[in-house]
Symmetry: C2
Subunit: 413 residues, 2 copies
């Protein structure tokens, strides 16, 4: 009897989960390992951070998603080492051998070597991050309301977002709306509409993966919402009192980090070529040098596509996951594998309630139509019917009422 | 110009929030102070703990509920002292004077002097509690799945619930369902259907506020779901390895506490007569002795009604809140106040998906009709339309599919 090939997938994000699902009918034994128990729809994480959606709306238990797929075993645990020579991955108390390995571990925000900043300026990559940020935002308004000192109030109602990529833009827009719309009539001593929101970007424009014209439109939309956009501005220091920029010091406890990417240390145990950001430079078939059975996909990989690196977005990881499933299910040797080709479906970023910018190849759209496309596409990609219809209901409600309903402060002990 | 009367309400639970809302048109200045920023629909908290509902489904920001009511200021903060002589309440950095004070601080579970048990056997009174319990339950199955040792697996798949009141019964039923139904097909190494669930009750029957016949029916329903009900059983000790009962030791990290009530220490600063559980023994108008302007309602009060103490349930607190609003808005002197009268709408407890027991005066119902009534009444009382329609949708989904959708482990750092 022929032994089934063992496939180990590290990471239950877009890439890893898609690979596992696409291998549904393959005659293989799959082990999917993730640090958490849920798949997370990261593009909507900022909506949890700004109280528009519940964690349960954008996350689904990986076991639940895969429970009918008998060839998958789901393991919640942290991989501590990958041994490419012995073909096995090690957890604290356990290890798994593989014939094929897919590394889809994603990325975290990078503090460019200043990891001590993280305490004061949390990032936004996990549900826990989002709840931390939500608590921070809501608590600040509560603290301002009981302040008698004007300077203190100013401090609590100032928000600095570092990084003008999609996450930074989306969260700045959402904080502007929550303060100027949702919370407007809820306080008696302070006026949340006077909230100061500053988006800091080191480059000379925000949303640099888009066409410059759309960057400019996004900037204008943000400014209309009351967000101050500071371009060519670098962060020099962050501590408990505030953030020091090259243009001066801002006193606030509310700093949110949305800049840079860093790849988990685990990647180093692959002993292969990395770029400066720690990403694995992969071959045209997503494999690593000398190991055609080991693949890295998604944010953790650097793949050149027509001489440009592929962006760290969900569609790249999803398409790579599908591509690998084909290679693995048919057991295609490296020499016969066609190179991975990315089909660019375009990019979309939302700015507040009913505005967005969208770029699909040469087509550039902004405003309400882009926003509507954004809502539609996001709902389409939400995994699990249940989440989909709930999120749609939430959005309808939110669109009609301007209410961010999940304004809960759940302080950790 | 006549000064407006100052009303301070401590606590935004059923009693405090109802009092504030009923004073909507009164010519008074209300300050509502709560430790959290949300009103919590506590009767459904066990559904958050068992992953059927999201925190946002059963909690609403107090500011949001009251934002149109101009005579209320909401303060998030912890009252540290009540000074009944100087007529003021003190927070850490602030204080508020009052003409009328409503103390509606609720209760926490009591560990009968063994507070060190709380670490190993969390209770279920706040959203944070519910998320802690949810993490505990879900993590246990994850840990069991990667175990190779039969004894360890047994340990992780054993659950002990202490206390056979409504909360204990409801959570035991829900854990039975989640393990025997929802999770049944999701694991490859363990069989969640073999989960052992033990409900421990010190008295000779569960649900002792009900008619003995209904207690017996509830017990049978639980046993049908696979819950072992141990009556006349006392807890002697709890530590990190398990729970010692007078009938023997059970090895498990999964202990949930649903017994006894304890009133916040703050109550002592009222310097008035307390019962053994720390509740304030109030007058017929809910006021405390010698201070007709200070009222205690809800779980923190002991009020005799036809010589029996009123139970610690939401309808009592709600009716007391309405009663006080009338006294305060009309400024009725104590001598002219009619005594508070409780209108008993009956009691309801649910056991799993489609079973419940209900008692309204002499009417006793059990089974599906009671469950249906339970769903209907709970949705009716959920504050805020948004939550209501969402929870109904969740329940329909849950009823059709048996899926507990919010199975997220959000581990605290």
């Amino acid at each position: 009897m022929r032994m089934k090939k063992k496939v180990v997938i590290i990471g239950g994000g877009f890439g890893g989960l898609t690979a596992a699902k696409t291998l549904k009918n393959a005659d293989v034994d799959i082990t999917l390992i993730d640090k958490t128990n849920h798949h997370l729809f990261q593009p909507l994480l900022y909506q949890v951070a700004t109280a528009a959606l519940s964690p349960g709306d954008i996350a689904a238990p990986i076991r639940g998603v895969l429970h009918k797929q008998k060839n998958v075993t789901v393991i919640m645990g942290e991989v501590t080492k990958i041994d490419v020579e012995a073909k096995k991955v090690c957890l604290n108390d356990d290890q798994f051998e593989y014939d094929y390995l897919i590394v889809a571990v994603g990325s975290r925000h990078s503090y460019f070597g200043k990891n001590e900043w993280e305490t004061f300026a949390p990032g936004l990559k996990t549900l826990n991050d989002a709840i931390t940020v939500r608590d921070k935002i809501l608590l600040s308004f509560e603290k301002a309301e009981i302040c008698r000192d004007e300077n203190e109030i100013k401090k609590y109602t100032t928000f600095v977002i570092v990084g003008g990529g999609p996450t930074g833009v989306e969260i700045a827009g959402a904080i502007a709306e929550i303060s100027k719309r949702t919370l407007r009539k809820e306080f008696r001593h302070i006026d949340p509409a006077k909230t100061k929101i500053i988006l800091v970007e080191a480059q000379d424009r925000i949303l640099s993966i888009y066409d410059p014209g759309l960057s400019e439109k996004a900037k204008l939309s943000l400014e209309k919402l009351g967000v101050e956009v500071r371009l060519n501005t670098k962060v020099e220091n962050i501590n408990e009192t505030g953030v020091k920029l090259n243009s001066g010091f801002i006193e606030t406890p509310n700093i949110i980090w949305a800049a840079g990417n860093e790849i988990p240390q685990l990647i180093k145990s692959l002993n292969t070529v990395l770029d400066r950001a720690g990403r694995v430079i992969v071959e045209k078939d997503c494999s690593i040098k000398k190991h055609p059975e080991v693949f890295v996909i998604g944010d953790a990989a650097l793949m050149l596509h027509y001489n440009k690196p592929l962006p760290g977005v969900a569609p790249v990881a999803i398409q790579q996951g599908k591509y690998l499933a084909k290679i693995i299910s048919r057991n295609i040797p490296q020499s016969e594998r066609k190179p991975f080709k990315y089909f660019d479906k375009g990019n979309l970023a939302t700015i507040g309630r009913a505005k967005a910018v969208m770029q699909i190849g040469r087509i550039k759209v902004s405003g309400f139509i882009a926003w509507f496309a954004w809502v539609f596409i996001h709902i389409l990609y939400l995994i699990g019917f249940r989440n989909r219809y709930k999120v749609l209901a939430e959005w309808m409600w939110y669109y009609i009422t301007y209410r961010h309903g999940i304004r809960l402060i759940i302080q950790k002990d």
